[in-house]
């Protein structure tokens, strides 16, 4: 009974189309997505991330204090934040594809993905595939791409959770790279003891975030290359690269 506390209210001021308005939302319960549900369908479908007090904020992360809210999408005047968030989410999805795609005998150990950089032309995931001499054919790459492209119909949400360092070590105990990374990630967090973990369906991964609202933003998704790299910290790894385009920015089929 002590765990169930009284629900407090926070005041959320929304700026932007269709209208500027003020809403009273539940503290630690309501998210920017629930504000969007109050205002209209347009914001629910097109918003990628929110800006809460000027900082990028997940669409499904609860409010903690009174704030000013803004929704961002790909056709904004300055779409840098949505672009970065999209690129980071696509890296995250690439990790889930690698875990799902191979047979059970092959234990894929995901390592990490670098900061998203749209100008590099591709998003990246480094992993140990336990297949040192594998050179994928175009059909195999196509299979990997299909898994990502199909996610747009599933509309799976990205949900954030800040867990304790001991819980995180337990969650990722079968992944030698993540266990090495977790202490340094926890040291960077404000409390010095928590690790940000994201969930997309069954897949769980560590990333600083924020990620986009759901997988329905993906229009095209393709895994393009698999190459060998030598990491100074983790030894020999495979680097998997891909390319994706959001639904809001249509490109020609030709």
């Amino acid at each position: 009974m002590a765990l169930i506390t009284r629900i407090e209210k926070v005041q959320v001021v929304h700026h932007g189309p269709p209208e500027d308005c003020t809403l009273l939302m539940n503290k630690d319960l309501s998210t920017p997505f629930s504000v969007a549900m109050h205002i209209g369908e347009l914001l629910m479908t097109r918003s990628v991330v929110a800006l809460v007090n000027g900082e990028p904020w997940d669409m499904h992360k609860p409010f903690t204090e009174d704030c000013e809210l803004q929704f961002l999408h790909f056709k904004d005047d300055q779409p840098d934040i949505p672009n970065q968030v999209f690129w980071r989410s696509c890296s995250f999805i690439l990790g889930s594809i690698l875990e799902r795609a191979f047979k059970e005998e092959i234990h894929v150990e995901l390592c990490s993905f670098p900061r998203p950089n749209v100008r590099s032309g591709s998003f990246v995931y480094d992993a140990d595939l336990k297949l040192p001499d594998w050179k994928p054919t175009s059909a195999e790459l196509n299979c990997l791409s299909r898994i990502g492209a199909k996610l747009q119909h599933d509309d799976i949400r990205f949900e954030r959770l800040d867990v304790d360092i001991s819980v995180a070590l337990k969650m990722f105990q079968d992944n030698r790279f993540k266990i090495l990374q977790i202490p340094s990630i926890a040291a960077q967090s404000p409390s010095g003891n928590s690790v940000p973990v994201y969930r997309m369906g069954d897949h769980v991964d560590i990333t600083r975030g924020p990620l986009m609202s759901s997988t329905q933003h993906i229009a095209r998704y393709s895994v393009t290359t698999v190459s060998d790299i030598d990491s100074p910290d983790f030894g020999r790894l495979k680097r998997i690269q891909g390319l994706a385009i959001p639904k809001q920015l249509p490109v020609s089929d030709a």
């Binding site: 056709k75 672009n83 749209v118 032309g121 385009i245």
Partner: protein
């Protein structure tokens, strides 16, 4: 040359000037619309009428610009198409100077669509460019930083880079060939 696409045949506008008004009714309707456009610089109406009137207005301004106010035929044409005669002065003194060295069409047509609920008739807005009214559509957004455009820019840059490198490699090859041929010549001459 008109700067707008128009059909060669005139559009059929039944009952333009009321039922049974015939071809003359249609012309009267067009004259009214052209007069209103020159006076107010922005008019609303049914799409087909307004679109048809656009061609006559463009032609009128073009003729006035080309021939000036001393040309008899142009003056007669202005007198016929402008039902209110103070607008003849406006045509030659305001619109002709406004559109000197003007590369594009003088008018702009915006589609408003059908009103729902209501009569399902497509409506439109016709305006003279450079009018003092607030703009119908806001300024276009800068889409340079959209994700697709960034990717395309980068791809273009890479392609150009590859091309320059291949050209440079070709020239290097040519130079080396010339040098070898020079050496051959010199060796032949010495021997």
């Amino acid at each position: 040359m008109l700067r707008i696409p128009i059909k060669v045949t005139a559009r059929k506008l039944p009952h333009a000037g009321g039922r049974g008004s015939g071809p003359q009714g249609r012309i009267n309707k067009m004259r009214k619309l052209v007069t209103a456009l020159i006076r107010h610089e922005r008019i609303e109406g049914q799409y087909q009428w307004v679109d048809e009137a656009r061609g006559y207005a463009e032609r009128l301004i073009l003729e006035a610009q080309r021939n000036g106010d001393t040309h008899k035929g142009t003056m007669e044409m202005a007198d016929y198409w402008l039902l209110e005669k103070d607008l003849v002065h406006k045509l030659f003194k305001v619109l002709v100077p406004r559109y000197t060295n003007y590369p594009a069409s003088f008018t702009q047509l915006w589609s408003l669509g059908e009103t729902f609920p209501g009569r399902p008739v497509p409506m439109a807005v016709l305006e003279l460019k450079g009018n003092p009214w607030p703009p119908v559509v806001p300024k276009e957004r800068d889409q340079r930083n959209s994700l697709v455009n960034i990717l395309l820019d980068q791809a273009r840059k890479d392609y150009r880079q590859q091309k320059y490198e291949s050209i440079a490699a070709l020239e290097l090859n040519k130079q080396s060939e010339q040098q070898t041929s020079n050496i051959d010549d010199s060796s032949a001459s010495t021997s």
